[in-house]
Amino acid sequence: MSRMYKQNWKRKDSIEKLFAVFRSSTDFIQYDVNTSHIKYWISYFETLVDVNILNENILKPIHSKYWQSLEELKNILPVKDIFLTIDTDLMKEKLLEGFVMISLSEYGSPCLLVNAKLNKAREVTLPEVEFTVIGPKEAFVESIESNINLIRKRLPIEELRIRTLKIGRLTQTRLAIIYIEGIADEENVFTVWQRISNIQIDQVNDSSYITEMISDNHNSPFPQLLDTERPDRVVSILAEGKIAVIVDGSPHVLIGPTTLVEFFASFEDYFLNWILSSFFRIIRLFAVSFSILATPIYVAVLNYHYELIPTDLLNNFVTSRREVPVPPFLEALFLEGTIELLREAGARLPTKVGQTIGIVGGIVIGTASVEAGLTSNILLIIVALAALASFTTPVYKMGNTIRLLRFPFLMFAEMYGLLGIVLCFCFLATHLLRLTSLGRPFLEPIYPPRITDLKDAFLRMPFSMMNERPKQLRTEQPKRMDEEKSRENKDIDE
């Protein structure tokens, strides 16, 4: 008896403490009400509660219907999430999520917790970062419920698994790991789960925090997890056997394990005919190599190997550089720096001002610096083209990496010319060979070479040929569909 009393007393004390803490915030509301048949206390955070739900679904039935105990009340209220509890930790958690708490005495328990969450989420809008001309026009928003809804809608199957957990000591961010059971490799799921649960951080404000915390190599400029704002892309990737991570408050969903070539594939490639999209992929690949190598090659050739250029072409180079007083390296560095400056300024400004910056920078500074004899116009063309090419990368984060890469290449080109470029390439290749994404090789299907995975790498082969899931993922169901049915060969005139 005394033990029970003690427990009761302890609990009472902690409810009092809980309220004392909460009352120090002005948006915490608590009052008592005398209805015709009973007296009750009600407490909630007015900033977290939807007033409509509170009035219509909670207060109205309380006052209009007859009830004697909280159990009876629980059956009366037309609200989905409702439970009785004596656990003060749960009370604290739920009150902070936007529940309304009803009790029969001021510090009495048990208490009834009724869901009256205020859901304020942005409407589902057009994808802005990964816009495609054709194809679905939905993009993720900041609310995790709405994002999961967008995925579930497109994958109405029982095998879709969603596991949620909370990360961040202060922000208490909800996070969901999504995969398809029977396709995704259990080991991959376990890796993701384990790495996420090992995270020690106080705040998670975006999925990028999670990317950085769970990627294999923190010291790499390459993003090792793909992020997307397109539900269709997530669904297609889940069907391949990958794992998606949704973070509440972030419109970008993380996808892993991923490979380097995936970062150069736009999702629009799957909406176009395979011949066209293969062509575009090759163009993009060319653009990326051009964007990294163009200025370094210019520096290397003009510094060390001008014999490489045929005489007719060399004339143009010499004429354009005749009045430039600085060596090619400084000239290139100056122009590359200007372009980066323009990009950074444009990114920080509102769209309309940003356009002006582009015009001012591109036309005025460019022509003026050539006329002033600070740069050669050939280099100006090369740098502008390289900058243009770097924007063809479909994934924003990879575009940034590409732009950074040309600076070490420039330095090596200045030191050893073409030899330096090859040497720098070797360093880059080593780095990429060593990288892994969730423990799977990042450079696959190039190395380790896997021919089946190459069908969706540099080229996009027709869907009927992509009848196997990527080998890299070690999926539990390697076949996508029946091979014979997908390829029905008919003879001519049959």
Partner: protein, 364 residues
């Protein structure tokens, strides 16, 4: 010996790249001179001959290793006991180490002659050692990755051998076939030894291959590919150069062939060729040096990181000391003799020993 974890192993088809990339390296740029000296316009027969011999040796290596519990190091230790076995192991390690040094030295020599007269070797090798350190820290998978890149990426250069020099080719140079005596052709074959060695690193990376039984096919295909490449380059050189004397005068006959490559936007193609050649020699050096490093770790049981650093430091100094033309020639001669002894004479002996031991074991 500790079992190699599955995640450090490479799949069987990659043995193709490992074998081919170790055989195909710095020698390609100037192997013609020494062979033509003896076999003249029949040199391509010498090349075929060495290809067949290497096939036999790859087969022997597989037979030897199938009867062992791991790599060559453990095998020699088991066969000859601690002192003799490890002594032989060290001989092999020095061979691998000197081999990789010679490749880098040869490449730097070419760089100095063809591209940068005043190349600062100290700085260049320091950067190169940094690269090697970065590669070795990634483990054998990264080394194999470079073997793969070193074969695939420079493949396009091969086209330049085929397209441009053949315009000036005169097939008459090949005739009459078998004009030289078997002795002369055989002497030419002996000169090819230093060019085709490298496949014997198989002795060390053998435990690192998954499904080792399936890999033998790929090793042979790798050697076949090497032999074909050498034959093509040899034939092209014979038909391109108007006289044998011209090949004999050129220390780097292949490099000189690049001089006639002419594209609308590029002249003096050899600059691009030599720079790209670092991709070809890098796996060469990597696999050789990796084998030396692996051997040291296996014998002495020192942690790999320490071995990597000490090996790289020693290599750094050796490369910087041997810069004279005479020294380089001496080093190449030593390695040629070394390879003849250790690869071409010792491997059959080892094969016989293991074969007899196996028979003996079966009988008892």
């Amino acid at each position: 010996m500790a079992q190699i974890a599955e995640r450090h192993k490479v799949s069987a088809p990659l043995v193709f790249y490992l074998v081919h990339s170790t055989q195909f390296g710095i020698g390609v740029l100037g192997f013609q001179k020494n062979v033509v000296k003896y076999a003249g316009h029949d040199s391509w027969i010498s090349v075929i001959l060495i290809g067949l011999i290497v096939h036999l040796y790859i087969w022997m290596i597989y037979q030897i290793l199938k009867r062992s519990s791991g790599s060559l190091m453990t095998l020699q230790h088991d066969l000859f006991g601690k002192w003799v076995g490890n002594g032989l192991n060290i001989v092999w390690i020095i061979y691998f180490f000197l081999g990789s040094c010679a490749i880098l030295i040869g490449y730097i020599e070419i760089l100095k002659v063809w591209m940068f007269e005043d190349l600062n070797i100290w700085i260049y090798t320091a950067i190169f050692m940094g690269l090697l350190y970065y590669i070795f820290n990634g483990g054998f998978r990264v080394v194999t990755g470079f073997a793969f890149f070193g074969v695939v990426l420079p493949l396009w250069i091969f086209l330049t051998f085929l397209i441009f020099p053949t315009r000036f080719a005169d097939l008459q140079h090949l005739l009459p076939i078998m004009d030289h005596s078997p002795q002369e052709i055989f002497m030419g074959t002996m000169q090819m030894v230093i060019t085709v060695i490298g496949f014997e690193t198989l002795f060390l990376y053998y435990p690192f291959v998954k499904n080792i039984d399936k890999s033998q096919k790929w090793a042979h295909i790798g050697n076949l590919f090497t032999t074909c490449s050498y034959i093509i380059i040899m034939i092209v050189s014979i038909v391109y150069y108007s006289a044998e004397e011209e090949i004999l005068r050129n220390k780097w006959a292949t490099l000189a062939m690049w001089k006639i490559v002419e594209l609308p936007f590029v002249e003096r193609f050899e600059y691009i060729g030599i720079a790209s050649w670092s991709l070809v020699i890098l796996p060469n050096i990597c696999v050789m040096l990796w084998s030396a490093k692996r051997g040291i770790t296996e014998i002495f049981g020192i942690t790999e990181k320490k071995v990597i650093i000490s090996v790289l430091v020693v290599m750094f100094f050796i490369v910087n000391v041997i810069v004279d033309k005479e020294d380089i020639q001496l080093l190449n001669k030593i390695i040629n003799m070394y390879a003849l002894g250790i690869v071409f004479c010792y491997i059959p002996v080892l094969y016989l020993i293991t074969f007899v031991r196996d028979l003996w074991k079966r009988r008892t």
